[in-house]
Symmetry: C2
Subunit: 153 residues, 2 copies
């Protein structure tokens, strides 16, 4: 399978990684959720080349994950803000952070602490069932082809 | 920043993507959660070259996400199974699936339907706060440097 075809596959993981399955892209999204919006700020934090950064930002805008917005007229300057579709990636980022905190730590503790404004407590993200609200582990899930399946899984 | 240094950065997203931030790797993990274990089965599903697949599997074994296990002695044959560290990536995969279902669908509905064995219902994953059990959205979270922070964020 060629990468250009991956987004066509009848699999939501494949479709998702066709948009965000790139290492720089995930770090750009991380910074977006931390409030970074400007090209030069992304570049300073990531240390990535301008060419790669421009490419990844362009693809995220094309995918509707970021919106390129003019924030100054003379000279014209643009920033990159998460759209609702981009903000909906928050659970992905939370899950990545939590796994890294738990399984890739260096013994010094969490680099970032997350506080839930709603209850005022530091928290870790928990993935639960939308129906019964119980935490979901891998062994608790059975999968079957859905209406959008195009091939056996 | 060079990719070889990314895993050293004091950020759990960066550490996580240093292990799984590769498109084939995410699809290998997807297939692992769907029960695929053998090299030839991964290759047949993914259509990836044997060289790339062997490289990604080797890295996942080195990272402790997959365990290479001998399942036949003559000839020696091995398979690749998710370790507890690998199984802990399940929330990441669920979040990727759900975003793809919601934002990358082709109008035909979900390719895969997830059923929670615990309650017997089809479900979608919801990310909630470990303290108050309320769903977490991006705007509900405040971050601050934790004990493992090595630089300002």
């Amino acid at each position: 399978m060629r990468w250009s075809e991956i987004g066509e596959e009848a699999c939501s993981v494949a479709r998702t990684v066709s948009v965000i399955g790139d290492r720089w892209t995930l770090l750009i999204l991380r910074d977006g959720f931390l409030g970074i919006r400007r090209f030069d700020d992304f570049q300073a934090r990531l240390g990535v080349t301008r060419h790669i950064l421009a490419d990844r930002l362009r693809k995220l805008v094309a995918a509707g994950v970021l919106a390129k917005t003019r924030y100054e007229d003379r000279p014209a300057r643009y920033d990159y803000r998460l759209t609702p579709k981009g903000l909906a990636l928050h659970p992905v980022l939370l899950a990545l952070v939590h796994w890294g905190d738990t399984h890739m730590a260096d013994g010094k503790g969490r680099p970032l602490v997350l506080r839930h404004k709603g209850c005022g407590c530091d928290f870790t993200p928990v993935t639960v069932c939308s129906r019964c609200a119980e935490p979901i582990a891998a062994r608790d899930v059975r999968v079957r082809p859905g209406p959008g399946a195009r091939r056996a899984v």
